[in-house]
Amino acid sequence: MKLAAFVSDYRMTVDTLERLKPEKLGIILVGNGVYHATIKENGSASLLLNTAADFYALSEDLETRGLSSSSVDSKVKVVTYGDVVDLIFNDYDKTAWI
């Protein structure tokens, strides 16, 4: 399957994401999930970004939190709500809100 997984937390309380093994995985960072795209805790990028996946972060939620697109990790593509709709419909066939 081609799975679009939404991450809306910075501190995750489940280990589901590391166990899912879809043929294609997209991780869409929304809500407080966007901190994974920008915060370098103790100097290191979020471990989440080591997952074998394509990464997206919602522009609107970055801006809401005072995070600029320039601080987003190079692995992560900044997208809008409209882009998220297209990702869901065109690039993936199932979704998971983790």
Binding site: F6, S8, V30, G31, E60, T80, Y81, G82, V84, V85, D86, I88, F89, D93, T95, W97
Partner: protein
């Protein structure tokens, strides 16, 4: 263009997941998709009429009504609503109330389903 079923279980104020669901519904409709929004659990809070729009709190009555005017189909879980004291009388005009099988029926012929859990 497809059918998109969004289920949201998060509260009106707080996690902003319900704000996300409403904005995503709007973005999908702009792209020509048909959208069903199912609210269950604490998300039934969005169905009550007369939410006072303070700037300090998420206030979704207005954006929801605008999207319903454009064809957004919104249904609240009846039992979840009643347990919280949201009766038929204090439900926002245009919001339907059904039992949980409505959500599954909406998913039956949906091209995509996004289920957003609760807090």
């Amino acid at each position: 263009m497809g059918k998109f079923t969004i289920g949201c279980f998060a509260s009106l104020v707080g996690s902003m997941n319900l704000d996300f669901a409403v904005k995503l519904a709007g973005a999908a409709m702009e792209k020509g998709h048909k959208v069903d929004l199912w609210v269950s659990g604490n998300a039934t809070m969005i169905s009550i009429k007369g939410q006072r729009a303070f700037k300090d709190y998420s206030s979704l009555e207005k954006p929801l009504k605008e999207l319903m005017d454009k064809g957004l189909n919104v249904t609240a879980c009846e039992a979840c609503a009643e347990a919280r004291g949201y009766t038929k009388d204090n439900t926002m005009e245009g919001v339907k109330r059904h039992s949980m099988d409505w959500y599954l029926a909406s998913a039956f012929d949906a091209d995509r389903v996004l289920h957003i859990g609760g807090e």
